[in-house]
């Protein structure tokens, strides 16, 4: 174990399965990036589809190593809940950023980049660049 601190990644989806699966996919595509702390915050606390502020706060606290936390979300209430928590000021670790990126592609880019020891700005930029990749 090095004492390097990594940017933490939080994946927020309306579905627990989607959040967990994307976390698994991103870690696998990052070459089994076991050093990067990645947490899924999917669905509501009751196990339904939706967004839970409590699960998001807990996930962000869990991945925070002091190098910042990048939060990627899917749709609607996931985006709004993270924005509302950020506006509260004290609900998420300092240096938590909502990343404007596509969920799956952005998560992969974020985890791969974080695994290189990159800082929060670089992780956010790499995830955002995923929007520029056209598929057709």
């Amino acid at each position: 174990m090095s004492d390097e601190r990594y940017v933490g990644i939080v994946l927020v989806s309306h579905s627990a399965e989607v959040a967990e699966s994307v976390a698994g996919l991103a870690k696998a595509l990052a070459g089994g990036a076991t050093t990067v702390p990645v947490a899924a915050a999917g669905g509501t606390e009751g196990g339904d589809f939706g967004t839970s502020a409590e699960l998001i706060s807990a996930a962000a606290a869990a991945v925070d190593q002091g190098a910042g936390v990048a939060v990627l979300t899917d749709l609607g209430s996931a985006v709004l809940t993270v924005k509302a928590l950020l506006a509260e000021g004290d609900e998420l670790p300092a240096d938590t950023r909502l990343v404007d990126a596509p969920f799956v592609e952005g998560a992969v880019a974020a985890v791969v980049t974080a695994a290189t020891g990159a800082d929060l700005d670089a992780v956010v930029a790499a995830a955002g660049e995923a929007y520029a990749y056209r598929k057709a």
């Binding site: 509501t44 339904d48 939706g50 967004t51 839970s52 502020a53 409590e54 749709l75 609607g76 209430s77 709004l80 809940t81 924005k83 509302a84 928590l85 506006a87 509260e88």
Partner: protein, 203 residues
Amino acid sequence: MLDADFFRRWITATAASVDREAQRLTALDSAIGDADHGSNLQRGFAAVLATLEKEAPQSPGAVLSLAGRQLISTVGGASGPLYGTLLRRAGKVLGDAPEVSEAQLAEALRAGVDGVMALGGAAPGDKTMLDALIPAVDALGEGFDAARRAAESGAVETTPMQARKGRASYLGERSIGHQDPGATSSSLLIAALVTAAEGGSDE
């Protein structure tokens, strides 16, 4: 002047009418949304009532801040952060004053509505809760009943609009012809001001 009791009655009356109208809200949401608006708000306001009882906030600002915080935590859908921001932002403006005037309430709600606009990026005419809230806040200077009427007309006027925000926006023109569930629940929130002013909590 309006004290913490008035604000507790307001929130309690809102919770009661959300409870009563939950099925209608969900029915409206099943037409253009994901059919959970009524049940989500019911869950949120039930949590708000439980917290208000436990923590007994002593100022108008504290009642609204607590209610907003609970809604963000427990609703589970977009209405949570939106209503949560509305109430918390308004609560922040009222600070810890033990009593506030109707004009101060109007000013605080105006700030709350601005917070909702900033959070959701919506504007009037987008077929959202703002289409009830903005006319209501504009009418508050003429009293709670005027605000209630403005909110109710605002909600009805969302029917011919095409949604440009949220899940309903994916429907494009098919969103036309349905009253917006968020504007409808917002009109319940505003109508509850009248109930609170009459001294009731509508339970």
